[in-house]
Amino acid sequence: MTEASPAKPYALHLGVIALLFALSFVLPDYHHGLLARIMVLAVFAMGYNMLFGYVGLLSLGHAMFFSAGLYGAGLTVYHLGWNVPAAFAAGLACGALLALVIGLLALRTTGVAFMIVTMMFAQVFYLVILYFASWTGGDQGLVVQQAARVLVLGSGSLDLTNPTVRYMSALALFSIVLLVTLAIVRSRYGRVLVAIRENEERTKMLGYDTFSNKLIAVVVSGTICAASGAAYALLFGYVGSSFASVQYSILPLLWVLLGGAATTLGPLIGTLFMYYVIDITSGFTSAYLLIVGIALILLVLFFPKGILGSIRQRWLGWLP
């Protein structure tokens, strides 16, 4: 298989990163803060997209991977006083390990069964958080104090609660994950994942070990989601069980569907769109979810493959 020219996609992705960087200098304070949050959650959506978009595995339990990162980072700071890099690494490790175990078990199923199994595991994870309330803060959650959210670098330090530092940290994480995702989907491994999505039996027949490939995808996806959760705990200072609830398993699915499944930039577009629709409409009516629902129906009608997915289908076939 011949690869399409890498110049265009890389230029586009670097351009998006540059635009987000530039926006930091011009956005008003509120939108500056909101975009930092959106970038962190877009990473969550990108992790979800890795599995849903490229492998075609629809999970309803990704809140557990996000929460594994959230609690892995948050609890090590809160109870053990770990520093920011160590806590972030702990969050990643929790997410990767959990994804490995869940992957080994859940990948024995496919289709609807996979959805149900992942949802059940996520529910177990959620209830475990509530059960160990004396450690996790249960449904109320915990606050990671400002003083603990400082990144010490040699003789200097970066206060992650400073809006600019927070924005740049979120951008750094977003950029790394975006470029890693792009590299993966353009790699041979990425092609194998798409092949599994399109026809798993044929991929098997061609000699690929589809179980191992899917397992790696689950671990990569879970780790990316955990990175988002760990960053959320350290950048925004709140660790709570609501992030492990089923709502946070459905949200990344929604963001990805909106932005365009199996597009690298779709998760960002979807997250951005949903956030701003809610933010703007909730200022006018308490029935804003109705408007969100109508917006979603219109999108499904006119952009059935999501915003970027439809653009790729109609105009820009080279979009990764």
């Binding site: 960087f21 530039a22 930091s24 200098f25 011009v26 008003p28 304070d29 509120y30 500056h32 803060g33 909101l34 949050r37 509530l130 309330a133 803060g137 249960g138 449904d139 109320q140 959650g141 915990l142 606050v143 990671v144 104090q145 400002q146 609660t161 600019t164 925004f236 200072g237 709140y238 709570g240 069980s241 609501s242 992030f243 933010d279 909730s282 200022g283 308490s286 804003y288 979810l289």
Partner: protein, 434 residues
């Protein structure tokens, strides 16, 4: 957007976000967009802006609606009397969906977009805890009306206050003397298996012990449970009092099944009104509660000995003698909690006046002025009753009511003393930097 002004020329090493912001503020393109207008600092005649973080949607919606009504009534009363420091009060409402993540965003929106002077009014504990970091980082005073112990635990930060409603630890502690003396000395607790229940699980046993009574069983019920009969055999036969704090829609089933289990020969029942806020006490299935007792923050039903201040407060908020909306008897209020909005706004008024508060640049002064407050006398500003305030833990302590269900109404039979609910402070916010 064009690059005429060089905003995007990042090669200029002197460019900072702040200067770029100022430059952009002058740009006509964004100036016409309402959400992007950069407001000037509050002038002496400009309104004091209060950001109201309301639970308009989500599980807290019934509370949110009554919190809004009470807040509107208090703001009207304050404005009619000349406002705060001669400035009118304006309330900006944002819905947090009773969600902690959205709550934090809403606090950010108040601080950086609406440019409110303070944030106010949150009830649900997880939203308070989720939003507190955002308030601390934005250095915007955050006055909650939550009754959770989270503020007094000193685990939040120096910008979070709860000056209008007693916290749950104090409420529980102040119930113990009456329960031990009047209801019985062998108590079985039934509570929901999440944080609200855990407060009762953890704070009641030591409080009862100090009064010579004991908790002989604790039965935690999962929040997803819809039938309770299977738990009732766990209630020890020697139980003299069942202390119940079930909340949510399941409470009606809970009471009905408890009635079927015991029939007419039941132990004493003691509950927290949180179970039945915004719910008619005469709803079908609640007959079994007749003769039982409840904690009430502020009485739902008008009492014969109501003070003039209490009567004026009820009239201003628009609740009738049965605690329902005037003109709509089915719209039952959240009387045990919503008075906290009224009283908190008067605390804010007092603190702003003490601080000579002029605008957001005086927020630190407002924090210190609030911390300096010690007592709130009963009166039109504090109709629920007198309170003391501990500036180190940012928490007030007031009297509590114990009411008996009698003839389909709640009759106050005992008022606790403030001292009954005092406990050793667990920390000191004033040692934190502003």
């Amino acid at each position: 957007m064009t690059d005429k002004n060089g905003f995007f020329d990042l090669s200029k090493s002197t460019l900072s976000r702040r200067t770029a912001l100022k430059g952009l503020a002058a740009g006509a393109g964004l100036a016409v967009a309402p959400g992007f207008i950069r407001y000037s600092q509050a002038q002496s005649s400009a309104p004091v802006k209060i950001g109201f973080q309301s639970h308009r949607t989500g599980i807290g919606a019934a509370y949110g609606r009554w919190y809004e009504k009470t807040t509107a009534a208090a703001v009207k009363a304050i404005n009619d009397a000349g406002g705060i420091n001669g400035r009118p009060v304006e309330v900006v409402i944002e819905d947090d969906g009773t969600d902690p993540a959205r709550g934090a965003e809403v606090v950010g929106k108040f601080a950086t977009q609406h440019k409110t002077d303070i944030v106010f009014g949150t009830l649900f504990s997880h939203v308070v805890i989720g939003s507190a970091p955002a308030a601390g980082e934005a250095k915007i005073p955050y006055f909650v009306v939550s009754e959770g112990h989270h503020v007094a635990s000193t685990k939040l930060n120096r910008y979070v206050f709860q000056p209008g409603i007693t916290d749950v630890k104090s409420q529980i502690q102040s119930m113990a003397p009456w329960i031990a003396a009047n209801a019985g000395k062998k108590v079985t607790q039934i509570f929901p298996d999440f944080a609200f229940g855990y407060d009762h699980r953890d704070y009641l046993p030591p409080a009862l012990k100090a009064q010579g009574a004991d908790v002989i069983a604790q039965i935690a019920i999962p929040p997803t449970e819809s039938s309770f009969t299977k738990y009732f055999p766990q209630i020890p036969a020697e139980t003299e009092v069942i202390y119940h704090v079930m909340v949510g829609p399941a409470v009606l089933t809970f009471v009905k099944e408890l009635g079927e289990f015991y029939g007419s020969n039941r132990p004493q029942l003691f509950g927290f009104m949180d179970s039945l806020e915004a719910t008619d006490i005469n709803s079908p299935g609640l007959e079994f509660l007749d003769g039982s007792h409840f904690w009430e923050g502020s009485p739902r039903y008008a009492q014969p000995d109501d003070s003039a201040a209490q009567k004026a407060y009820r009239a201003a908020v628009g609740i009738d003698d049965n605690g329902a909306a005037v003109g709509d008897p089915k719209d039952v209020s959240t009387a045990s909690h919503m008075f906290g909005c009224w009283e908190t706004l008067y605390v804010v008024k007092k603190a702003m006046e003490d601080a000579g508060y002029k605008g957001p640049e005086d927020r630190a002064k407002l924090v210190e002025a609030t911390e300096a407050l010690t007592e709130f006398a009963e009166g039109p500003e504090h109709p629920q009753g007198p309170k003391t305030f501990n500036g180190k833990i940012h928490q007030c302590f007031g009297i509590q009511n114990i009411s008996k269900v009698e003839g389909g109404k709640l009759k106050v039979v005992h008022k606790t003393k403030i001292e009954d609910g005092l406990y050793e402070p667990e920390g000191d916010y004033t040692t934190q930097a502003l």
